[in-house]
Protein backbone atom coordinates (compact mmCIF):
# COMPACT_ATOMS: atom_id res chain seq x y z
CA UNK A 1 0.00 0.00 0.00
CA UNK A 2 2.78 2.34 1.01
CA UNK A 3 4.45 1.79 -2.31
CA UNK A 4 1.46 3.00 -4.30
CA UNK A 5 1.08 6.10 -2.16
CA UNK A 6 4.74 6.91 -2.71
CA UNK A 7 4.27 6.45 -6.44
CA UNK A 8 1.09 8.46 -6.84
CA UNK A 9 1.49 11.38 -4.48
CA UNK A 10 3.92 13.34 -6.60
CA UNK A 11 4.81 16.94 -5.98
CA UNK A 12 6.48 17.43 -2.64
CA UNK A 13 7.73 13.85 -2.54
CA UNK A 14 9.22 14.39 -5.99
CA UNK A 15 11.09 17.45 -4.80
CA UNK A 16 12.35 15.58 -1.74
CA UNK A 17 13.41 12.66 -3.89
CA UNK A 18 15.36 14.91 -6.24
CA UNK A 19 16.97 16.76 -3.35
CA UNK A 20 17.82 13.44 -1.73
CA UNK A 21 19.31 12.19 -4.96
CA UNK A 22 21.66 15.13 -5.45
CA UNK A 23 22.59 15.72 -1.84
CA UNK A 24 22.72 12.01 -1.03
CA UNK A 25 24.93 11.13 -3.99
CA UNK A 26 27.34 13.96 -3.22
CA UNK A 27 27.68 13.09 0.44
CA UNK A 28 28.05 9.43 -0.38
CA UNK A 29 30.86 10.04 -2.85
CA UNK A 30 32.65 12.36 -0.45
CA UNK A 31 32.18 9.98 2.45
CA UNK A 32 33.61 7.05 0.51
CA UNK A 33 36.71 9.08 -0.41
CA UNK A 34 37.13 10.04 3.24
CA UNK A 35 36.66 6.45 4.44
CA UNK A 36 39.20 5.10 1.95
CA UNK A 37 41.81 7.68 2.94
CA UNK A 38 41.36 6.92 6.63
CA UNK A 39 41.39 3.16 6.08
CA UNK A 40 44.77 3.52 4.39
CA UNK A 41 46.14 5.08 7.56
CA UNK A 42 45.11 2.09 9.67
CA UNK A 43 46.29 -0.55 7.22
CA UNK A 44 48.96 -1.84 9.61
CA UNK A 45 46.62 -1.91 12.61
CA UNK A 46 44.18 -4.67 11.71
CA UNK A 47 40.87 -5.23 13.45
CA UNK A 48 40.27 -8.96 13.87
CA UNK A 49 37.25 -10.93 14.87
CA UNK A 50 39.50 -13.53 16.46
CA UNK A 51 40.75 -13.35 20.01
CA UNK A 52 44.41 -13.86 19.20
CA UNK A 53 46.69 -12.12 16.78
CA UNK A 54 50.10 -13.72 17.07
CA UNK A 55 50.76 -15.92 20.11
CA UNK A 56 54.45 -15.07 19.95
CA UNK A 57 53.86 -11.41 20.61
CA UNK A 58 53.57 -10.31 24.19
CA UNK A 59 50.77 -7.88 24.97
CA UNK A 60 51.86 -4.81 26.87
CA UNK A 61 48.55 -3.07 27.25
CA UNK A 62 44.89 -3.80 26.58
CA UNK A 63 41.83 -1.59 26.64
CA UNK A 64 38.37 -1.43 25.11
CA UNK A 65 37.81 0.72 22.07
CA UNK A 66 34.39 1.74 20.88
CA UNK A 67 32.98 3.60 17.91
CA UNK A 68 29.45 4.22 16.74
CA UNK A 69 27.47 6.08 14.14
CA UNK A 70 23.78 6.72 13.49
CA UNK A 71 22.71 7.07 9.87
CA UNK A 72 19.45 7.48 8.04
CA UNK A 73 18.51 7.06 4.41
CA UNK A 74 17.55 9.95 2.17
CA UNK A 75 14.27 10.19 0.30
CA UNK A 76 15.76 9.08 -2.99
CA UNK A 77 16.98 5.84 -1.47
CA UNK A 78 13.67 5.41 0.24
CA UNK A 79 11.91 5.84 -3.08
CA UNK A 80 14.24 3.36 -4.80
CA UNK A 81 13.69 0.82 -2.05
CA UNK A 82 9.93 1.30 -2.30
CA UNK A 83 10.19 0.52 -6.02
CA UNK A 84 12.38 -2.47 -5.31
CA UNK A 85 9.91 -3.81 -2.80
CA UNK A 86 7.35 -4.14 -5.60
CA UNK A 87 9.53 -6.56 -7.50
CA UNK A 88 11.74 -8.01 -4.80
CA UNK A 89 15.46 -8.48 -4.96
CA UNK A 90 18.46 -6.79 -3.44
CA UNK A 91 18.04 -3.21 -2.30
CA UNK A 92 21.38 -1.77 -3.26
CA UNK A 93 20.68 1.74 -2.08
CA UNK A 94 20.35 0.49 1.49
CA UNK A 95 23.40 -1.73 1.22
CA UNK A 96 25.75 1.12 0.41
CA UNK A 97 24.43 3.18 3.30
CA UNK A 98 24.88 0.44 5.87
CA UNK A 99 28.29 -0.37 4.40
CA UNK A 100 29.35 3.23 4.87
CA UNK A 101 28.04 3.25 8.42
CA UNK A 102 29.88 0.05 9.34
CA UNK A 103 33.18 1.22 7.93
CA UNK A 104 32.75 4.58 9.62
CA UNK A 105 32.05 2.91 12.97
CA UNK A 106 35.14 0.71 12.65
CA UNK A 107 37.25 3.74 11.78
CA UNK A 108 35.90 5.66 14.77
CA UNK A 109 36.69 2.73 16.99
CA UNK A 110 40.25 2.68 15.69
CA UNK A 111 40.56 6.42 16.07
CA UNK A 112 39.49 6.20 19.70
CA UNK A 113 42.62 4.12 20.37
CA UNK A 114 44.92 5.28 17.58
CA UNK A 115 48.22 3.86 18.81
CA UNK A 116 47.11 0.27 19.32
CA UNK A 117 48.87 -2.42 17.28
CA UNK A 118 45.77 -4.53 16.72
CA UNK A 119 42.09 -4.67 17.64
CA UNK A 120 41.04 -8.10 18.84
CA UNK A 121 37.63 -9.72 18.94
CA UNK A 122 35.88 -6.95 17.10
CA UNK A 123 32.09 -7.04 17.24
CA UNK A 124 29.66 -5.17 15.07
CA UNK A 125 26.17 -4.49 16.26
CA UNK A 126 23.39 -2.87 14.29
CA UNK A 127 20.17 -1.69 15.83
CA UNK A 128 17.31 0.10 14.21
CA UNK A 129 16.10 3.25 15.94
CA UNK A 130 13.26 4.69 13.94
CA UNK A 131 12.05 8.04 15.17
CA UNK A 132 8.43 7.34 14.25
CA UNK A 133 6.33 4.45 13.14
CA UNK A 134 4.02 3.81 10.22
CA UNK A 135 4.22 5.37 6.81
CA UNK A 136 6.48 8.22 7.83
CA UNK A 137 8.98 5.92 9.47
CA UNK A 138 12.38 6.33 7.94
CA UNK A 139 15.14 3.78 8.19
CA UNK A 140 17.49 4.95 10.90
CA UNK A 141 20.12 2.57 12.15
CA UNK A 142 22.88 2.72 14.67
CA UNK A 143 26.06 0.77 14.05
CA UNK A 144 28.36 0.07 16.96
CA UNK A 145 31.83 -1.42 16.66
CA UNK A 146 33.84 -2.45 19.68
CA UNK A 147 37.03 -4.38 20.25
CA UNK A 148 39.95 -4.85 22.59
CA UNK A 149 42.79 -2.59 21.49
CA UNK A 150 46.15 -4.13 22.32
CA UNK A 151 49.69 -2.84 22.22
CA UNK A 152 52.50 -5.36 21.86
CA UNK A 153 55.75 -5.28 23.75
CA UNK A 154 58.65 -4.61 21.41
CA UNK A 155 60.68 -7.74 20.77
CA UNK A 156 63.07 -6.31 18.18
CA UNK A 157 63.18 -8.07 14.85
CA UNK A 158 60.24 -10.39 15.46
CA UNK A 159 57.87 -7.49 16.08
CA UNK A 160 58.89 -5.60 12.96
CA UNK A 161 58.22 -8.68 10.86
CA UNK A 162 54.89 -9.52 12.36
CA UNK A 163 53.35 -6.09 11.96
CA UNK A 164 53.72 -6.41 8.21
CA UNK A 165 51.86 -9.73 8.13
CA UNK A 166 48.90 -9.85 5.84
CA UNK A 167 45.70 -10.88 7.53
Amino acid sequence: MEDFLVLFQLGLPLALVTLGWFAGATTERRHYLDIKAREQKFLNQPALSSKQYDPELRVREAEMACGSVVVSIDHFKRFMSALRMLFGGEIQSYASLIDRARREAILRMKESAPDADAYLNMRLQTSSISSSTGREAIGTVEVLAYATAVKFAPVGQAEAESTTHEI
Partner: protein, 107 residues
Protein backbone atom coordinates in the same frame (compact mmCIF):
# COMPACT_ATOMS: atom_id res chain seq x y z
CA UNK B 1 41.26 6.18 31.88
CA UNK B 2 39.07 4.60 34.56
CA UNK B 3 41.86 2.77 36.32
CA UNK B 4 40.08 -0.48 35.56
CA UNK B 5 40.90 -2.61 32.56
CA UNK B 6 38.05 -3.44 30.21
CA UNK B 7 38.45 -6.02 27.46
CA UNK B 8 35.99 -7.87 25.30
CA UNK B 9 38.02 -11.07 25.12
CA UNK B 10 37.95 -13.73 27.81
CA UNK B 11 41.23 -12.73 29.41
CA UNK B 12 43.33 -9.67 29.99
CA UNK B 13 46.28 -10.17 27.64
CA UNK B 14 49.54 -10.05 29.52
CA UNK B 15 47.91 -10.72 32.91
CA UNK B 16 46.72 -13.76 34.77
CA UNK B 17 43.23 -13.91 36.25
CA UNK B 18 43.39 -14.72 39.94
CA UNK B 19 39.78 -14.35 40.95
CA UNK B 20 36.35 -14.28 39.32
CA UNK B 21 33.42 -12.27 40.66
CA UNK B 22 30.82 -13.14 38.06
CA UNK B 23 28.60 -10.91 36.02
CA UNK B 24 28.43 -7.17 36.47
CA UNK B 25 26.15 -4.94 34.47
CA UNK B 26 25.10 -1.39 33.90
CA UNK B 27 22.26 -0.02 31.89
CA UNK B 28 20.57 3.23 31.06
CA UNK B 29 17.40 4.17 29.24
CA UNK B 30 17.48 7.42 27.36
CA UNK B 31 14.97 9.42 25.47
CA UNK B 32 15.99 12.07 23.01
CA UNK B 33 14.68 15.57 23.43
CA UNK B 34 12.43 17.34 20.96
CA UNK B 35 15.18 19.55 19.56
CA UNK B 36 17.34 16.64 18.48
CA UNK B 37 14.32 14.92 17.07
CA UNK B 38 13.36 17.94 15.01
CA UNK B 39 16.87 18.39 13.63
CA UNK B 40 17.03 14.69 12.82
CA UNK B 41 13.75 15.05 10.93
CA UNK B 42 15.28 17.77 8.80
CA UNK B 43 18.44 15.77 8.25
CA UNK B 44 16.34 12.83 7.15
CA UNK B 45 15.55 14.68 3.92
CA UNK B 46 19.08 14.36 2.65
CA UNK B 47 20.04 11.27 4.61
CA UNK B 48 23.43 10.62 6.10
CA UNK B 49 24.69 10.71 9.64
CA UNK B 50 22.49 11.97 12.44
CA UNK B 51 25.12 13.55 14.67
CA UNK B 52 22.70 14.29 17.51
CA UNK B 53 21.74 10.64 17.87
CA UNK B 54 25.31 9.45 17.59
CA UNK B 55 26.31 11.72 20.47
CA UNK B 56 23.30 10.73 22.53
CA UNK B 57 23.93 7.02 22.16
CA UNK B 58 27.65 7.44 22.76
CA UNK B 59 26.90 9.36 25.93
CA UNK B 60 24.44 6.79 27.24
CA UNK B 61 26.87 4.01 26.39
CA UNK B 62 29.57 5.57 28.54
CA UNK B 63 26.98 6.05 31.28
CA UNK B 64 26.10 2.34 31.14
CA UNK B 65 29.80 1.45 31.13
CA UNK B 66 30.55 3.58 34.15
CA UNK B 67 27.66 2.00 36.06
CA UNK B 68 29.08 -1.41 35.26
CA UNK B 69 32.54 -0.27 36.32
CA UNK B 70 31.15 1.10 39.60
CA UNK B 71 29.56 -2.26 40.31
CA UNK B 72 32.81 -4.04 39.54
CA UNK B 73 34.74 -1.68 41.83
CA UNK B 74 32.33 -2.40 44.66
CA UNK B 75 33.18 -6.07 44.35
CA UNK B 76 36.88 -5.26 44.48
CA UNK B 77 37.66 -6.19 40.90
CA UNK B 78 40.37 -4.49 38.90
CA UNK B 79 39.30 -5.61 35.42
CA UNK B 80 36.13 -6.50 33.55
CA UNK B 81 36.48 -9.06 30.80
CA UNK B 82 34.16 -10.23 28.03
CA UNK B 83 32.33 -6.93 27.89
CA UNK B 84 29.27 -6.88 25.62
CA UNK B 85 26.90 -4.13 24.58
CA UNK B 86 23.29 -4.49 23.59
CA UNK B 87 20.78 -1.90 22.50
CA UNK B 88 17.05 -2.35 22.52
CA UNK B 89 14.23 0.06 22.03
CA UNK B 90 11.83 -0.13 24.96
CA UNK B 91 9.34 2.51 23.88
CA UNK B 92 8.94 4.81 20.95
CA UNK B 93 11.72 7.35 21.06
CA UNK B 94 13.55 5.71 23.93
CA UNK B 95 16.23 3.07 23.90
CA UNK B 96 17.96 1.02 26.49
CA UNK B 97 21.70 0.47 26.42
CA UNK B 98 22.99 -2.44 28.42
CA UNK B 99 26.63 -3.18 29.09
CA UNK B 100 27.70 -6.35 30.84
CA UNK B 101 30.83 -8.29 31.56
CA UNK B 102 32.67 -10.51 34.03
CA UNK B 103 34.42 -8.81 36.93
CA UNK B 104 37.81 -10.31 37.73
CA UNK B 105 40.98 -9.62 39.65
CA UNK B 106 44.16 -9.85 37.62
CA UNK B 107 47.71 -9.81 38.94
Amino acid sequence: MRGLILTNIDSVPGHRIVRHFGLVQGSTIRAKHVGTDFLAGLKNIVGGELKGYTDLLQESRSEATSRMVAQARELGANAVINVRFTTSSVAQGASEILCYGTAVVVD
